[in-house]
């Protein structure tokens, strides 16, 4: 089975590389039993993830970061910025109500913040379409998404 490709923004990829480097240092220190009393730095753990007490999580996270570094593709602004694609912010009218989605790869998708995955049914349906086009998802209940605006941030 081919490895999954992670489509990722440049900013996120820089974060991933830094976290990976920092966690490898922590892993080596932990193996040597040479761990500073409080290792959790704001850099690694802006939300206080306590890797020091939890070796299994440290290893899971390192494996995850390795997989991302090995199988990533940076999201770039496409040549044709008139169509919805990865990294675009799309303003839509959904059955008469306004909403905004940023189309992200699965790693950065966070629907509660409006970042929807390009692999979700709605993400997939929007990709490739232009302003003014309507996407109807009808199984089993009809919902209409009308594209009002497309904007790209990343260069």
């Amino acid at each position: 089975m081919p490895e999954k490709i992670f489509y990722i923004t440049k900013e996120k990829f820089e974060e991933v590389k830094k976290e990976y480097k920092d966690l490898l240092v922590l892993e080596v220190k932990k193996a040597k039993g040479d761990i500073p009393k409080v290792f959790e730095s704001e850099d690694i753990n802006p939300e206080y993830v306590n890797f020091q007490e939890d070796l299994s999580f440290l290893r899971s996270r390192i494996a995850e970061l390795e997989s991302v570094i090995k199988n990533h593709e940076i999201i770039k602004k496409p040549e044709n910025a008139d169509v919805v694609g990865l990294g675009s912010k799309v303003t839509v009218d959904v059955d008469g109500e306004k909403d905004e989605f940023v189309i992200m790869g699965t790693l950065e998708a966070n629907p509660s913040l409006g970042k929807i995955s390009n692999e979700s049914p709605v993400g997939r349906a929007l990709v490739g379409h232009k302003v003014g086009e309507q996407i109807v998802v009808s199984s089993p209940i009809k919902t209409t998404y009308t594209i009002k605006r497309i904007k790209y941030f990343s260069a």
Partner: protein
């Protein structure tokens, strides 16, 4: 040991707390938070077998993902716009709420803060390693730090979706549309999307939802 006993006592209260989304929809004797946790974890395990996942990690995430609610309470996407009038609530429950970017950020941040605080309170007296493990598992679920955290987040939504379709079948009046919108915008895992197709086929053989 006494700290463990207190922890189990408190978590046991989740067996009595009904899920708020069903209460708002007027479902009689709705499932509790513990009921939901049980089936969401079971579904994650069984459906997750098709993927290369660390099962122990996945199941632990399932078990702890909502325990913060014993202090933080259950949250629904409608909480910030909930009217007082019962008829208006019923009308709202037929829709999927849309928010501005700023509102989305504010709602998510407040929920995260409240739940983190609740979890910290719940695990405060536990042995240090266990406390750290539970906090880390929850952070993984919240922030999608590993494939297990990301998969469970979606399995959790799928369980909620299945419960909605089951209540629709049982009571008829429940609007399905908000659940389908959620499923199509929130879930991207191919295994879970295939399972949603199964649910659609099986539940709508003889009767199609109108709204």
């Amino acid at each position: 040991m006494i700290s463990l006993l207190h922890f189990f006592n408190k978590v046991g209260e989740l067996k009595e707390i009904p899920r708020k989304g069903w209460v708002l929809r007027g479902i009689k004797n709705p499932e509790t938070i513990a009921d939901h946790t049980f089936r969401a974890t079971l579904m994650a395990w069984v459906l997750g077998k098709k993927k290369r996942l660390n099962m122990e990690r996945l199941l632990k995430i399932g078990l702890i993902h909502d325990i913060c609610e014993v202090y933080a309470g259950d949250t629904t996407p409608y909480d910030t716009i909930l009217p007082k009038d019962k008829k208006k609530i019923a009308a709202l429950m037929k829709t999927w709420p849309r928010f501005t970017d700023a509102e989305k950020r504010k709602i998510a941040a407040q929920k995260h803060k409240r739940e983190k605080k609740g979890l910290e309170k719940l695990v405060a007296d536990l042995p240090r390693e266990l406390r750290a493990e539970i906090m880390n598992l929850w952070m993984d679920y919240e922030n999608g730090l590993t494939p297990e955290g990301r998969f469970f987040k979606q399995a959790d939504r799928l369980e909620n979706f299945l419960q909605a379709i089951e209540y629709w079948k049982k009571y008829g009046k429940l609007a399905q549309k908000p659940w389908w919108i959620q499923a199509r915008e929130l879930i991207d895992d191919p295994v879970l999307l295939d399972f949603i197709k199964e649910i659609d086929t099986e539940f709508h053989k003889t009767k199609k939802p109108k709204n």
